[in-house]
Amino acid sequence: MMLRFRFTFFDRENTSSCYLQLKSLDTIVQALQVANEFETKVLPITECQLGDAHVKLKVLGNIPGRPLETSDVFNQVVYLCKDNQISGSFKIPSAPASFYDESGSYTGMRIFYKLDQVNPLVQEIFATLPGMCRPDGAPFPQNLIVGGRLRM
């Protein structure tokens, strides 16, 4: 594991970044401590202002036997979810062909997906990510209403 911190510096016209890495931390509180301590140590040696800091950590994947011959990242699926008046969506590239419902109607997105087949899988994503939300912070609706193919 490696946590990569990016600190942004501002002068009156431009921005620049400084990158620092740590091999391990236990909690987000500690990440905040690192950032706060960095600020106290760096402000005496810079004339710039510090903006937001960013922390990244990467978990390596790699699925055995992938990618399949028919895989194509430009062929994406939009999963649109809606609860009451709140909607949310996410895109995943290259769905298996078995998900296609060729009888689906045209509604801007190319083809509807077999929701009964896809929905349990999408529900598992929601179960894996407690606190899943939209980019604006609003709770993510968990009722899948359509999956549509989108050529990027």
Partner: protein, 167 residues
């Protein structure tokens, strides 16, 4: 506390198809700052496993991005501040190599006149370099290079000029 956890943490999956084209999918989470890093790794690993049946691509990695919001009141930097003027700090690493990090907007009075050498006897410089080597969260947890090798000793510091992006 000047930095606080931003409202949204992102987990981005990187997909790769047979022709080595890549695409990304991002999921947003609202998490408390009491959540452990192990919990977050669990979310990222779990997401990777749950998305796998929905794609024919390989999923190369799952990358977590947290924003630490700056809550200090904004103050205009002095006119003399220039992000292009950087302090380049060089450190020895545990592998015997050197690694460097650059601090934008170096205070010019820290530079020895008629040279580009930074005055390493200055207390602020010593404080900063000790922080990098000795670690922010207890001894032995110092910062590491991009390759993950521990900084072990401060070596030298110079003023350099390097271009930066426009704000």
């Amino acid at each position: 506390m000047p930095f606080t956890l931003g409202p949204v943490t992102e987990i981005t999956l990187t997909f790769e198809d047979r022709d080595l084209n890549k695409a990304h999918a991002t999921f947003c989470l609202e998490i408390a700052d009491t959540v452990t890093i192990l919990d977050i790794i669990g979310y990222a690993t779990g997401l990777l496993a749950k998305v796998a049946p929905l794609t024919e691509c390989n999923i190369l990695d799952s990358s977590v991005h947290m924003t630490l919001k700056q809550t200090d009141a904004w103050a205009l930097p002095p006119e003399s501040a220039e992000v292009q003027r950087k302090g380049s700090f060089s450190f020895l690493t545990a592998a015997g190599t050197t690694g460097a990090l650059e601090i934008p907007g170096l205070v010019n009075t820290l530079v020895v006149d008629r040279s580009n050498t930074i005055d390493i006897s200055n207390a602020a410089i010593t404080d900063f370099t000790n922080y990098i080597v000795n670690g922010p969260i207890g001894f032995g947890n110092g910062f590491v290079t991009g390759a993950g090798i521990q900084y072990t000793q401060f070596r030298s510091a110079r003023k350099i000029h390097r271009s930066s992006s426009k704000g």
